[in-house]
Symmetry: C2
Subunit: 229 residues, 2 copies
Protein backbone atom coordinates (compact mmCIF):
# COMPACT_ATOMS: atom_id res chain seq x y z
CA UNK A 1 0.00 0.00 0.00
CA UNK A 2 2.90 2.44 0.28
CA UNK A 3 4.08 4.78 -2.42
CA UNK A 4 7.54 3.83 -3.67
CA UNK A 5 10.35 5.74 -2.04
CA UNK A 6 12.40 8.05 -4.15
CA UNK A 7 15.58 7.33 -2.23
CA UNK A 8 17.12 4.83 0.12
CA UNK A 9 18.83 5.51 3.42
CA UNK A 10 22.03 4.46 1.71
CA UNK A 11 21.61 7.24 -0.81
CA UNK A 12 21.02 9.77 1.94
CA UNK A 13 24.09 8.49 3.78
CA UNK A 14 26.45 8.74 0.86
CA UNK A 15 25.07 12.08 -0.30
CA UNK A 16 25.44 13.55 3.18
CA UNK A 17 28.91 12.08 3.64
CA UNK A 18 30.23 13.35 0.35
CA UNK A 19 28.80 16.77 1.10
CA UNK A 20 30.60 16.88 4.43
CA UNK A 21 33.84 15.48 3.05
CA UNK A 22 33.85 18.05 0.29
CA UNK A 23 32.75 21.22 2.04
CA UNK A 24 32.86 20.57 5.78
CA UNK A 25 30.27 19.89 8.40
CA UNK A 26 28.76 23.36 8.23
CA UNK A 27 27.84 22.75 4.60
CA UNK A 28 25.44 20.02 5.62
CA UNK A 29 21.97 21.45 6.12
CA UNK A 30 18.59 20.00 5.41
CA UNK A 31 18.25 22.25 2.40
CA UNK A 32 21.72 21.61 1.00
CA UNK A 33 21.33 17.86 1.33
CA UNK A 34 17.90 18.05 -0.31
CA UNK A 35 19.35 20.12 -3.14
CA UNK A 36 22.14 17.59 -3.62
CA UNK A 37 19.48 14.92 -3.95
CA UNK A 38 17.33 17.06 -6.21
CA UNK A 39 14.36 17.23 -3.89
CA UNK A 40 12.72 19.39 -1.23
CA UNK A 41 14.07 19.85 2.26
CA UNK A 42 11.14 18.24 4.03
CA UNK A 43 11.57 15.02 2.12
CA UNK A 44 14.61 14.23 4.25
CA UNK A 45 12.32 13.83 7.23
CA UNK A 46 10.77 10.79 5.61
CA UNK A 47 14.08 8.96 5.88
CA UNK A 48 15.66 10.31 8.99
CA UNK A 49 14.54 11.51 12.40
CA UNK A 50 15.40 15.17 12.06
CA UNK A 51 18.84 16.67 12.16
CA UNK A 52 19.84 14.45 15.07
CA UNK A 53 19.01 11.35 13.10
CA UNK A 54 20.85 12.61 10.06
CA UNK A 55 24.01 13.09 12.06
CA UNK A 56 23.55 9.64 13.53
CA UNK A 57 23.42 8.29 10.01
CA UNK A 58 26.72 9.99 9.24
CA UNK A 59 28.39 8.52 12.30
CA UNK A 60 27.14 5.08 11.41
CA UNK A 61 28.43 5.47 7.90
CA UNK A 62 31.93 6.26 9.09
CA UNK A 63 32.03 3.64 11.81
CA UNK A 64 30.79 0.97 9.47
CA UNK A 65 34.34 0.74 8.12
CA UNK A 66 35.83 0.31 11.57
CA UNK A 67 35.92 -3.47 11.40
CA UNK A 68 39.05 -4.76 9.70
CA UNK A 69 38.68 -7.15 6.84
CA UNK A 70 38.02 -10.63 8.17
CA UNK A 71 40.92 -12.97 7.69
CA UNK A 72 40.70 -16.76 7.66
CA UNK A 73 41.32 -17.46 11.31
CA UNK A 74 41.63 -14.13 13.11
CA UNK A 75 40.81 -15.87 16.38
CA UNK A 76 44.06 -17.77 16.29
CA UNK A 77 46.27 -14.72 16.09
CA UNK A 78 48.14 -13.42 19.09
CA UNK A 79 45.93 -11.15 21.16
CA UNK A 80 48.45 -8.32 20.87
CA UNK A 81 48.34 -8.49 17.10
CA UNK A 82 44.57 -8.71 17.07
CA UNK A 83 44.21 -5.81 19.49
CA UNK A 84 46.48 -3.68 17.39
CA UNK A 85 44.65 -4.66 14.23
CA UNK A 86 41.29 -3.64 15.63
CA UNK A 87 42.53 -0.41 17.15
CA UNK A 88 44.23 0.62 13.93
CA UNK A 89 41.22 -0.24 11.80
CA UNK A 90 39.02 1.88 14.01
CA UNK A 91 41.44 4.78 13.96
CA UNK A 92 41.84 4.56 10.21
CA UNK A 93 38.09 4.58 9.63
CA UNK A 94 37.62 7.62 11.82
CA UNK A 95 40.52 9.45 10.26
CA UNK A 96 39.20 8.88 6.77
CA UNK A 97 36.48 11.48 7.35
CA UNK A 98 37.97 14.17 9.59
CA UNK A 99 34.98 16.46 9.36
CA UNK A 100 32.75 13.85 10.93
CA UNK A 101 35.02 13.38 13.95
CA UNK A 102 33.30 16.10 15.99
CA UNK A 103 30.06 14.18 15.60
CA UNK A 104 31.67 10.87 16.50
CA UNK A 105 33.13 12.42 19.63
CA UNK A 106 29.90 13.94 20.88
CA UNK A 107 27.14 11.59 19.79
CA UNK A 108 26.30 8.50 21.79
CA UNK A 109 27.08 5.53 19.61
CA UNK A 110 25.31 2.22 19.80
CA UNK A 111 25.10 1.10 16.20
CA UNK A 112 25.63 -2.56 15.30
CA UNK A 113 29.01 -2.03 13.64
CA UNK A 114 30.45 -0.37 16.74
CA UNK A 115 29.08 -3.05 19.01
CA UNK A 116 30.59 -5.66 16.74
CA UNK A 117 33.91 -3.88 16.87
CA UNK A 118 33.77 -3.63 20.65
CA UNK A 119 32.97 -7.28 21.03
CA UNK A 120 35.83 -8.23 18.70
CA UNK A 121 38.23 -6.12 20.72
CA UNK A 122 36.99 -7.73 23.90
CA UNK A 123 37.50 -11.19 22.40
CA UNK A 124 41.09 -10.28 21.68
CA UNK A 125 41.72 -8.76 25.10
CA UNK A 126 40.07 -11.71 26.83
CA UNK A 127 42.71 -13.95 25.34
CA UNK A 128 45.29 -12.15 27.45
CA UNK A 129 43.68 -13.86 30.41
CA UNK A 130 41.44 -11.01 31.55
CA UNK A 131 37.87 -11.31 32.75
CA UNK A 132 35.31 -9.11 34.41
CA UNK A 133 36.61 -5.85 35.78
CA UNK A 134 40.13 -6.36 34.42
CA UNK A 135 38.71 -6.92 30.98
CA UNK A 136 36.70 -3.73 31.35
CA UNK A 137 39.77 -1.73 32.35
CA UNK A 138 41.75 -3.01 29.39
CA UNK A 139 38.86 -2.22 27.05
CA UNK A 140 38.55 1.28 28.42
CA UNK A 141 42.26 1.88 28.12
CA UNK A 142 42.43 0.83 24.48
CA UNK A 143 39.27 2.52 23.24
CA UNK A 144 40.08 5.61 25.27
CA UNK A 145 43.46 5.86 23.65
CA UNK A 146 42.06 5.43 20.14
CA UNK A 147 39.39 8.09 20.41
CA UNK A 148 41.67 10.35 22.41
CA UNK A 149 44.36 10.11 19.79
CA UNK A 150 41.90 10.93 17.04
CA UNK A 151 40.73 13.92 19.05
CA UNK A 152 44.28 15.12 19.57
CA UNK A 153 44.96 15.04 15.87
CA UNK A 154 41.82 17.06 15.28
CA UNK A 155 42.16 19.69 17.98
CA UNK A 156 45.17 18.96 20.18
CA UNK A 157 47.98 21.39 20.95
CA UNK A 158 50.19 19.86 18.25
CA UNK A 159 47.48 19.49 15.64
CA UNK A 160 47.46 21.22 12.29
CA UNK A 161 44.42 22.72 10.63
CA UNK A 162 43.31 21.33 7.26
CA UNK A 163 44.63 24.38 5.46
CA UNK A 164 47.94 24.44 7.30
CA UNK A 165 51.33 22.96 6.64
CA UNK A 166 53.47 20.69 8.81
CA UNK A 167 55.59 23.73 9.42
CA UNK A 168 52.74 25.23 11.45
CA UNK A 169 53.69 22.99 14.39
CA UNK A 170 57.20 24.33 14.70
CA UNK A 171 56.04 27.84 13.87
CA UNK A 172 53.62 27.79 16.76
CA UNK A 173 56.28 26.29 19.02
CA UNK A 174 58.73 29.04 18.10
CA UNK A 175 56.18 31.62 19.20
CA UNK A 176 56.25 30.19 22.72
CA UNK A 177 58.56 31.56 25.41
CA UNK A 178 61.44 29.10 25.25
CA UNK A 179 62.31 29.31 28.92
CA UNK A 180 58.81 28.40 30.09
CA UNK A 181 57.98 25.64 27.63
CA UNK A 182 61.21 23.87 26.74
CA UNK A 183 59.68 20.41 26.55
CA UNK A 184 56.69 21.48 24.48
CA UNK A 185 59.08 22.99 22.01
CA UNK A 186 61.15 19.81 22.04
CA UNK A 187 58.24 17.52 21.22
CA UNK A 188 56.93 19.98 18.66
CA UNK A 189 60.15 19.39 16.80
CA UNK A 190 59.71 15.64 17.17
CA UNK A 191 56.09 15.89 16.01
CA UNK A 192 57.08 17.81 12.90
CA UNK A 193 59.57 15.10 12.02
CA UNK A 194 57.12 12.33 12.75
CA UNK A 195 53.81 11.17 11.33
CA UNK A 196 50.50 10.37 13.01
CA UNK A 197 50.90 6.75 11.97
CA UNK A 198 54.21 6.40 13.79
CA UNK A 199 52.89 8.13 16.87
CA UNK A 200 49.75 6.04 16.98
CA UNK A 201 51.76 2.86 16.61
CA UNK A 202 54.18 3.92 19.32
CA UNK A 203 51.34 4.83 21.67
CA UNK A 204 49.76 1.45 21.13
CA UNK A 205 53.13 -0.13 21.86
CA UNK A 206 53.16 1.54 25.25
CA UNK A 207 49.61 0.48 25.97
CA UNK A 208 50.09 -3.12 24.94
CA UNK A 209 53.32 -3.32 26.90
CA UNK A 210 51.31 -2.21 29.91
CA UNK A 211 48.68 -4.84 29.24
CA UNK A 212 51.38 -7.48 28.98
CA UNK A 213 53.04 -6.56 32.23
CA UNK A 214 49.80 -6.93 34.19
CA UNK A 215 47.92 -9.73 32.52
CA UNK A 216 45.08 -9.81 34.99
CA UNK A 217 46.22 -8.60 38.40
CA UNK A 218 46.52 -12.12 39.70
CA UNK A 219 45.66 -14.56 36.93
CA UNK A 220 48.61 -15.75 34.93
CA UNK A 221 48.39 -15.37 31.20
CA UNK A 222 46.94 -18.46 29.62
CA UNK A 223 47.47 -18.03 25.89
CA UNK A 224 50.49 -18.94 23.80
CA UNK A 225 53.30 -17.49 25.84
CA UNK A 226 55.35 -15.48 23.40
CA UNK A 227 57.18 -13.07 25.62
CA UNK A 228 57.53 -9.34 25.30
CA UNK A 229 58.79 -8.19 21.93
Amino acid sequence: MPAPRKFSREQLRTAALSLVDAHGLAALTMRSLAAALGTGAMTIYNYVDGREGLEGLLVEAVLADALPAVTEHPEDADWRIETRRLAEANWRAVRAHPDVIPLILTRRIADPASLEHGEALLRALARSGRRGADLLYAFRAVTGFVTGFAQAELAGPLSIAPDEDVRAITDRARALPAERFPYLIEIAGAAAASTPEIEFHAGLDVLIAGLESRPSAGNPERSAGQDRV
Copy 2:
Protein backbone atom coordinates in the same frame (compact mmCIF):
# COMPACT_ATOMS: atom_id res chain seq x y z
CA MET B 1 39.48 58.16 26.50
CA PRO B 2 37.49 54.95 26.60
CA ALA B 3 34.09 54.52 28.15
CA PRO B 4 34.18 52.26 31.22
CA ARG B 5 33.19 48.68 30.59
CA LYS B 6 30.09 47.36 32.22
CA PHE B 7 31.49 43.87 32.65
CA SER B 8 34.74 41.95 32.72
CA ARG B 9 35.63 38.86 30.77
CA GLU B 10 35.58 37.04 34.09
CA GLN B 11 31.95 37.98 34.59
CA LEU B 12 31.09 36.75 31.12
CA ARG B 13 32.93 33.52 31.78
CA THR B 14 31.21 32.70 35.03
CA ALA B 15 27.80 33.76 33.75
CA ALA B 16 28.15 31.59 30.67
CA LEU B 17 29.50 28.66 32.65
CA SER B 18 26.75 28.71 35.25
CA LEU B 19 24.19 28.94 32.49
CA VAL B 20 25.60 25.88 30.77
CA ASP B 21 26.02 23.94 34.00
CA ALA B 22 22.45 24.66 34.99
CA HIS B 23 20.55 24.21 31.73
CA GLY B 24 22.89 22.58 29.24
CA LEU B 25 24.85 23.81 26.28
CA ALA B 26 21.78 24.52 24.18
CA ALA B 27 20.64 27.06 26.74
CA LEU B 28 23.63 29.26 26.01
CA THR B 29 22.77 31.77 23.31
CA MET B 30 23.86 35.33 22.85
CA ARG B 31 20.47 36.52 23.98
CA SER B 32 20.20 34.23 26.99
CA LEU B 33 23.66 35.18 28.20
CA ALA B 34 22.88 38.86 27.70
CA ALA B 35 19.65 38.46 29.63
CA ALA B 36 21.52 36.73 32.46
CA LEU B 37 23.83 39.74 32.57
CA GLY B 38 20.99 42.19 32.29
CA THR B 39 22.08 43.74 29.01
CA GLY B 40 21.51 43.54 25.27
CA ALA B 41 22.71 40.72 23.10
CA MET B 42 25.11 42.79 21.02
CA THR B 43 27.01 43.90 24.10
CA ILE B 44 28.57 40.46 24.32
CA TYR B 45 30.44 41.19 21.12
CA ASN B 46 32.42 43.86 22.91
CA TYR B 47 34.01 41.20 25.11
CA VAL B 48 34.21 38.18 22.93
CA ASP B 49 34.84 37.41 19.28
CA GLY B 50 31.43 36.08 18.35
CA ARG B 51 29.99 32.75 19.31
CA GLU B 52 33.29 31.01 18.58
CA GLY B 53 35.10 33.23 21.02
CA LEU B 54 32.47 32.73 23.66
CA GLU B 55 32.87 28.99 23.47
CA GLY B 56 36.61 29.40 23.65
CA LEU B 57 36.13 31.36 26.84
CA LEU B 58 34.12 28.49 28.28
CA VAL B 59 36.79 25.96 27.40
CA GLU B 60 39.44 28.12 28.99
CA ALA B 61 37.35 28.49 32.11
CA VAL B 62 37.07 24.74 32.54
CA LEU B 63 40.66 23.97 31.67
CA ALA B 64 41.95 26.61 34.03
CA ASP B 65 41.34 24.15 36.86
CA ALA B 66 43.30 21.39 35.16
CA LEU B 67 46.54 22.15 36.99
CA PRO B 68 46.71 20.41 40.35
CA ALA B 69 47.45 22.49 43.41
CA VAL B 70 51.15 23.16 43.61
CA THR B 71 52.85 21.30 46.39
CA GLU B 72 56.14 22.27 47.96
CA HIS B 73 58.47 20.26 45.78
CA PRO B 74 56.45 18.50 43.14
CA GLU B 75 59.54 18.14 41.01
CA ASP B 76 61.06 15.72 43.48
CA ALA B 77 58.21 13.27 43.34
CA ASP B 78 58.42 10.04 41.43
CA TRP B 79 57.52 10.60 37.80
CA ARG B 80 54.81 7.97 37.99
CA ILE B 81 53.14 9.76 40.86
CA GLU B 82 53.48 13.11 39.17
CA THR B 83 52.11 11.81 35.87
CA ARG B 84 49.13 10.30 37.63
CA ARG B 85 48.56 13.49 39.59
CA LEU B 86 48.49 15.62 36.45
CA ALA B 87 46.33 13.22 34.48
CA GLU B 88 43.82 12.95 37.28
CA ALA B 89 43.67 16.69 37.83
CA ASN B 90 42.97 17.22 34.16
CA TRP B 91 40.30 14.56 34.10
CA ARG B 92 38.67 15.90 37.24
CA ALA B 93 38.55 19.43 35.85
CA VAL B 94 36.94 18.28 32.62
CA ARG B 95 34.46 16.06 34.41
CA ALA B 96 33.35 18.90 36.66
CA HIS B 97 31.49 20.50 33.76
CA PRO B 98 30.12 17.68 31.63
CA ASP B 99 28.12 19.94 29.34
CA VAL B 100 31.27 21.71 28.21
CA ILE B 101 33.01 18.47 27.22
CA PRO B 102 31.69 18.54 23.65
CA LEU B 103 33.33 21.93 23.23
CA ILE B 104 36.59 20.77 24.78
CA LEU B 105 36.66 17.81 22.43
CA THR B 106 36.07 19.78 19.26
CA ARG B 107 37.73 23.15 19.80
CA ARG B 108 41.44 23.61 19.22
CA ILE B 109 42.96 24.46 22.56
CA ALA B 110 46.03 26.62 23.01
CA ASP B 111 45.29 28.61 26.13
CA PRO B 112 48.03 29.26 28.69
CA ALA B 113 46.64 26.92 31.34
CA SER B 114 46.60 23.98 28.96
CA LEU B 115 50.11 24.71 27.75
CA GLU B 116 51.25 24.89 31.35
CA HIS B 117 49.61 21.57 32.06
CA GLY B 118 51.20 20.00 29.02
CA GLU B 119 54.62 21.26 29.96
CA ALA B 120 54.22 19.97 33.52
CA LEU B 121 53.22 16.56 32.21
CA LEU B 122 56.23 16.56 29.91
CA ARG B 123 58.51 17.47 32.81
CA ALA B 124 57.21 14.45 34.68
CA LEU B 125 57.50 12.11 31.72
CA ALA B 126 60.98 13.36 30.91
CA ARG B 127 62.13 12.16 34.30
CA SER B 128 61.45 8.62 33.14
CA GLY B 129 64.43 9.09 30.86
CA ARG B 130 62.57 9.96 27.68
CA ARG B 131 63.56 12.64 25.19
CA GLY B 132 62.53 13.71 21.73
CA ALA B 133 60.29 11.30 19.88
CA ASP B 134 59.92 8.92 22.83
CA LEU B 135 58.82 11.79 25.00
CA LEU B 136 56.29 12.75 22.36
CA TYR B 137 54.89 9.22 22.19
CA ALA B 138 54.50 9.05 25.96
CA PHE B 139 52.81 12.45 25.99
CA ARG B 140 50.43 11.42 23.27
CA ALA B 141 49.59 8.17 25.02
CA VAL B 142 48.76 9.84 28.33
CA THR B 143 46.81 12.83 27.00
CA GLY B 144 45.06 10.61 24.49
CA PHE B 145 43.91 8.30 27.23
CA VAL B 146 42.66 11.15 29.41
CA THR B 147 40.56 12.85 26.76
CA GLY B 148 39.46 9.53 25.34
CA PHE B 149 38.28 8.38 28.73
CA ALA B 150 36.35 11.58 29.26
CA GLN B 151 34.75 11.13 25.87
CA ALA B 152 33.81 7.55 26.65
CA GLU B 153 32.04 8.60 29.82
CA LEU B 154 30.14 11.20 27.85
CA ALA B 155 29.10 9.18 24.84
CA GLY B 156 30.70 5.74 24.92
CA PRO B 157 28.83 2.45 24.61
CA LEU B 158 28.76 2.01 28.40
CA SER B 159 27.95 5.60 29.24
CA ILE B 160 24.83 6.74 31.02
CA ALA B 161 22.86 9.85 30.16
CA PRO B 162 22.52 12.56 32.81
CA ASP B 163 18.92 11.60 33.45
CA GLU B 164 19.61 7.88 33.62
CA ASP B 165 20.44 5.50 36.39
CA VAL B 166 23.37 3.11 36.79
CA ARG B 167 20.91 0.38 35.99
CA ALA B 168 20.70 1.70 32.42
CA ILE B 169 24.01 0.01 31.63
CA THR B 170 22.85 -3.46 32.49
CA ASP B 171 19.42 -2.77 31.01
CA ARG B 172 20.96 -1.93 27.68
CA ALA B 173 23.24 -4.93 27.90
CA ARG B 174 20.31 -7.22 28.58
CA ALA B 175 18.67 -5.98 25.38
CA LEU B 176 21.61 -7.32 23.37
CA PRO B 177 21.59 -10.80 21.84
CA ALA B 178 23.55 -12.75 24.43
CA GLU B 179 25.10 -15.16 21.96
CA ARG B 180 26.59 -12.43 19.79
CA PHE B 181 27.88 -10.08 22.49
CA PRO B 182 28.86 -12.16 25.50
CA TYR B 183 31.87 -10.04 26.42
CA LEU B 184 30.06 -6.74 26.08
CA ILE B 185 27.43 -8.06 28.46
CA GLU B 186 30.15 -9.24 30.81
CA ILE B 187 31.90 -5.89 31.04
CA ALA B 188 28.57 -4.10 31.28
CA GLY B 189 28.05 -5.98 34.50
CA ALA B 190 31.53 -5.02 35.65
CA ALA B 191 30.90 -1.39 34.69
CA ALA B 192 27.68 -1.27 36.67
CA ALA B 193 29.52 -2.53 39.74
CA SER B 194 32.43 -0.15 39.22
CA THR B 195 32.90 3.61 39.24
CA PRO B 196 34.55 5.93 36.72
CA GLU B 197 37.20 6.74 39.29
CA ILE B 198 38.24 3.13 39.65
CA GLU B 199 38.25 2.59 35.91
CA PHE B 200 40.28 5.70 35.24
CA HIS B 201 42.78 4.73 37.88
CA ALA B 202 43.07 1.22 36.52
CA GLY B 203 43.51 2.49 32.98
CA LEU B 204 46.29 4.77 34.10
CA ASP B 205 47.88 1.81 35.87
CA VAL B 206 48.05 -0.03 32.58
CA LEU B 207 49.47 2.97 30.78
CA ILE B 208 52.11 3.72 33.38
CA ALA B 209 53.08 0.06 33.52
CA GLY B 210 53.64 0.28 29.79
CA LEU B 211 55.73 3.39 30.20
CA GLU B 212 57.81 1.67 32.85
CA SER B 213 58.50 -1.39 30.78
CA ARG B 214 59.86 0.65 27.89
CA PRO B 215 61.59 3.61 29.49
CA SER B 216 62.98 5.01 26.30
CA ALA B 217 63.48 2.31 23.70
CA GLY B 218 67.18 2.14 24.36
CA ASN B 219 68.02 4.59 27.12
CA PRO B 220 67.98 3.11 30.57
CA GLU B 221 65.87 4.88 33.13
CA ARG B 222 67.91 7.42 35.00
CA SER B 223 65.73 8.50 37.92
CA ALA B 224 65.35 6.88 41.34
CA GLY B 225 64.90 3.26 40.43
CA GLN B 226 61.92 2.16 42.45
CA ASP B 227 60.71 -0.87 40.62
CA ARG B 228 57.24 -1.75 39.47
CA VAL B 229 54.58 -1.49 42.17
